[in-house]
Amino acid sequence: MSENTGDGRQQSPFVGLIGARQEEFGEGYVRLSLLLEERHTNPNGVMHGGVITTLMDEALGGVIASVRGMQAMQEAPHSTVEMNVSFMAAARPGDEIIVEGRLLKAGRSVAFGEAEARRRGEDGLVAKGRFVFLIPPKRQ
C-alpha cells in the first residue's frame, strides 16, 4: 500500500509493506520512524539489516527529491547506485527506530547523502549509511 507522504510524493510500496512512517520532510532532511515487530527480525531475533537499508534508502531518496523538486523528479526519477551501511548495534521488537537522512551534496548528475539510525531518545547509533544517487539527464 502506498500512502501520500504529505509532500506530494508517494511513499514507496515496499516501505508501506514494512510499515514505516514519515515524520518530517524538509529541504535536505527527511526523518522516518518504525516501531519494530517480530516480522522485522532475522533468525537471531534482532532487526534484519535489510530493514535499515530500506529505510535509509527511502529517507535519502526523499532528501534528493526535496532538493530537486517534484517536477524534476517526476520527469527524470533518480535512483540509488551505491550504498555503504555499517551496522553498529542490534535492535529488537518493541524498539522504535528513527532514521534521519541528510543531503551531503547534490550535483547535476549525482547526489550524495548520509543516513543515521537510532533508537528514539538515544544518542548511540544503530547504523550509519552513505548513499550515492544517479540523476538521469532530462528527457528531451
Binding site: 510500496p13 516480522r39 539489516g49 535489510g50 537499508t53 530500506t54 527511502e58 531518496g61 555499517s86
Partner: protein, 127 residues
C-alpha cells in the same frame, strides 16, 4: 522461502544452499517497488544479506554461534520491475575466527542482466 521473518515478507524462495553458498529467487511484485516504480534498493539488499547469512550458516553449521552483518556495500547496476524474476546468488569468500566476508549478486532471470551486487562483512559471536 527464506528462513527469517523479514525476508519472508518479500515472498522470496530459497532454491539451494550448501556450505558457503546459497541461491534464492523472487518474482517482483508491485509492493516491492520504490517511489519510481522499480525494485526498491532495500528489497535487493535484504535478499542479498539474508542469502549470505544462510550461506554462512551452512558453512559454519547449525550448532555454531550467531553471526551478524556489520557492514554492507551494495551497487545497483540496472533497474528491475514488477513481473521480473530475480535470482540471488550468495557466496562466502572467507571465513575467519572473528569475521567472515561474502559476495552476492542479483540477476534478472529472463536476460541475465546484473541488477545489483553486494559485499557483506559478518561478525562472528564468540561462544
Amino acid at each position: 522461502m527464506l528462513r527469517n521473518s523479514f525476508a519472508r515478507l518479500s515472498g522470496a524462495r530459497l532454491k539451494s544452499c550448501e556450505k558457503g553458498s546459497a541461491t534464492a529467487s523472487v518474482t517482483l511484485r508491485p509492493e516491492h517497488a520504490g517511489a519510481n516504480g522499480t525494485a526498491h534498493g532495500g528489497l535487493l539488499t535484504t535478499l542479498m544479506d539474508s542469502s549470505l547469512a544462510i550461506a554462512l550458516r551452512e558453512l559454519r553449521g547449525e550448532g555454531a554461534s550467531l553471526h551478524s552483518s556489520i557492514e554492507m556495500n551494495a551497487s545497483f547496476l540496472a533497474e528491475a520491475r514488477p513481473g521480473d524474476e530475480l535470482t540471488i546468488e550468495a557466496r562466502i569468500s572467507h571465513l575467519g575466527e572473528n569475521v567472515a566476508f561474502g559476495e552476492a549478486q542479483a540477476r534478472r532471470r529472463a536476460d541475465g542482466e546484473l541488477i545489483a551486487i553486494a559485499r557483506v562483512t559478518f561478525a562472528i559471536q564468540q561462544p
